[in-house]
């Protein structure tokens, strides 16, 4: 479903400070650009993410993502696995009220992957742009 070329989705990207956040900094050093309506929020570990954070974010934006360390590479051992289960739970909650579950996602990357960071963020932006505005947005 396309909603016009002028739709610019707002996206929140929660970033593990050991991977996603550092990858964003690497992208900045490489002077790689990504859509400006993507807001980054640093977490001490992807395992800090909670269904509540996702849901509160979804009240205001069109899509949310968590950028976590590669599988089996979490500094706190299982943080990225826990983040994955919370993504799945959030997707279930959104699905039961008729909101596309693809608006919430988890992606894995390493600290030195600046290019990968930009690719992930751009793909999410394009996907949410294709989905259109979040129909459940409470705070416009």
């Amino acid at each position: 479903m396309s909603n016009g070329k002028d739709f610019q989705p707002k996206i929140v990207a929660f970033c593990c400070e050991n991977s996603g956040w550092l990858a964003a900094e690497a992208a900045a050093r490489l002077e790689l650009g990504y859509p400006e309506k993507v807001e980054l929020i640093k977490l001490p570990c992807s395992g800090k993410i909670d269904v509540l954070y996702f849901m509160k974010a979804m009240e205001k934006v069109d899509g949310v993502m968590i950028l976590a360390c590669q599988k089996e590479n979490c500094k706190f051992l299982k943080g990225n696995e826990r983040a994955k289960s919370r993504v799945l739970q959030t997707q279930r909650l959104l699905k039961e009220i008729g909101i596309e579950e693809d608006r919430v996602t988890i992606q894995y990357l390493a600290a030195n992957m600046g290019n990968k960071f930009v690719e992930i963020v751009q793909n999410m932006y394009d996907k949410v742009r294709e989905l259109g505005p979040n129909p459940g947005k409470v705070i416009k």
């Binding site: 909670d50 269904v51 509540l52 849901m55 509160k56 979804m58 009240e59 909650l93 959104l94 039961e96 009220i97 008729g98 909101i99 129909p135 459940g136 947005k137 409470v138």
Partner: protein
């Protein structure tokens, strides 16, 4: 602890279909511990309800509050001034809390947000199991600390029955036979001979057979009744 589970979202949305502003009221007691109706669950459900109604184009204002306990009247005083301004209260407490809310606010519509399941224990993350049926006359002294009323599918007092196989109950392969557990525990304690004692028929008048129960402790009651 009292174990509860959130009701399906469609059922809750149905309750709230005619309201524009509600209070979503969590409880800091058992339902917080069993992750069904504490502060975090209030936040999550509040978001879900607000988004579901925004999607329908009929916004719902959700005032989110969580009080210490919903089974004690004193904790409602702190929210009384806010309750005036809402159409209804959606309580995430157990059945006891929900009824107490209804009694505390007699002129306000109160909806249940959870199904109260049983009195149980947290066995693992996300897993709860029934342990007590509140039958009113505890026999755990005779059964090694394992309750045949709540944990035997038939609540029999002199088991195991013929349906016990390899420590499991015939009702479900996932259910331990309570009497096998009792036997093993009494063996470990060196008290297995006590199983030879025939336990008398249970007096169910202490349970629900006597109608709704009430406990009055005269050593605690005050003349004012409060």
């Amino acid at each position: 602890m009292i174990v509860a589970e959130r009701k399906p979202i469609d059922e809750i949305l149905g309750f709230l279909s005619k309201h524009q502003k509600i209070m979503l009221l969590g409880c800091g007691g058992c339902v917080t511990v069993c992750l069904a109706g504490g502060e975090k669950e209030v936040g999550i459900l509040g978001s879900e309800l607000a988004m579901a109604r925004a999607k329908e184009g009929r916004p719902l204002e959700v005032v989110q509050r969580t009080i210490e306990r919903q089974c004690d009247f004193e904790y409602f005083e702190g929210i009384r001034h806010e309750v005036k301004d809402v159409d209804a209260i959606l309580s995430l407490a157990c059945g006891i809390g929900i009824q107490t809310v209804a009694e505390a606010f007699p002129d306000k519509v109160v909806w249940p947000g959870v199904n109260t399941k049983f009195l149980g224990v947290n066995q693992n993350v996300g897993v709860w199991a029934e342990r007590c049926q509140a039958c009113g006359q505890c026999v755990l002294d005779k059964t090694g600390g394992i309750c045949p009323v709540a944990r035997c599918s038939k609540s029999i007092f002199n088991g195991p029955c013929g349906g016990s196989q390899h420590g499991k109950c015939e009702v479900s392969a996932d259910t331990d036979c309570a009497w096998a557990l009792i036997h093993d525990r009494l063996t470990r304690l060196g008290q297995v001979d006590s199983m030879r004692e025939i336990l008398p028929v249970k007096d169910w008048s202490h349970s629900r057979d006597g109608g709704p129960r009430k406990l009055v402790r005269e050593d605690l009651t005050l003349e004012s009744g409060k």
